[in-house]
Symmetry: C2
Subunit: 154 residues, 2 copies
DNA sequence: CATATAATTGATAATAAATATCAATAGATA
DNA sequence: TATCTATTGATATTTATTATCAATTATATG
């Protein structure tokens, strides 16, 4: 048989996304499925261009517009987290589509996902001080990753 | 005499900025001084267009390019904090030019500056978990401000 | 399987904020 | 006041994203 239950974490993640897609009048084209696979499997927060290049390895006729449209679809379904940057170098997390803190290297642009416990505390203090009711957040810490720290020590 | 020591907080803040400007071959034009005044006095994180409109009240011939160039100058001097957003609706804090958390209303776009004590803790945990050496951060919490919460309860 | 429907694709045009360009203007200094 | 050059203002350029639309193709149905 061709279909089977998901076993690896990324198969699991893809299955979650496909379940949401099935809900509406969405169609499963090869290009779209390839993009979903890339996003579900990615741990390194790829850019639109990263995704575009990778999907073109398998489907060389794919348009960049299709990548944008698939990402827009996933955003609507809350199945991808967009890390937008004002210089246009946007990055995407299809692995963890909910808000979480990021460590961003200003030299090599590597973005990491640490498990952080003190976010709730900060959020609670923000709420108390401002009276806002928060629905999401964006927590970015910028600096040098361990590797770039070594390289900059010459 | 015309010059006097700064007494109000915003005069104090303007004096800080002017001190940095004096250092190099910078010139004090009326337009530039007006923009500096607006940014030093502002508590509400104005946009480029907000600043542009306000400065044109006093100097109607001012170009938007001059606003951009003055902001670029202040960024170089680390005397303004730029809150860049991927949709291009950038906002500026000339009052507190260092990284700090913001509460952002998704409805009326009001941005607040609460005094938060638990940032260091979060930063420390990030550092321990990732090994990054951070130099700045961006901490945004999005939701409804108290006023917009009232209005949305109909 | 053949057919109908409409969602999707791919190519391209349009959009818009930020930046670059450059001749004209006007601070700063002596 | 004259000189020098930083700055201005108008405009062109850049570039990521969005919009457009005819052609294609996934899907359901008989
Ligand atoms: Mn992430
Ligand atoms: Mn602020
Ligand atoms: Zn790095
Ligand atoms: Zn509000």
């Amino acid at each position: 048989m061709k279909n089977h239950h998901p076993v690896t974490p990324k198969e699991e993640r893809l299955a979650q996304i496909l379940a949401k897609i099935k809900g509406r009048d969405f169609r499963l084209t090869p290009q779209r499925l390839a993009i979903l696979n890339i996003l579900a499997a990615s741990e390194d927060h790829p850019s639109v261009d990263d995704i575009y290049k990778e999907v073109r390895n398998r489907f060389p006729t794919t348009s960049i517009a299709t990548v944008y449209k698939t990402i827009a679809l996933l955003k609507e379904l809350n199945e991808v987290l967009e890390l937008g940057f004002p210089d246009g170098s946007n990055r995407y997390d299809g692995h963890r589509p909910y808000p979480h803190p990021h460590a961003i290297c200003t030299r090599c642009r590597k973005i990491m996902d640490p498990e952080i416990s003190s976010v709730d505390e900060l959020s609670e203090e923000m709420k108390k001080k401002t009276g806002y009711s928060f629905s999401f957040h964006r927590l970015d810490f910028f600096g040098l990753c361990p590797e770039c720290q070594k390289n900059s020590r010459k």
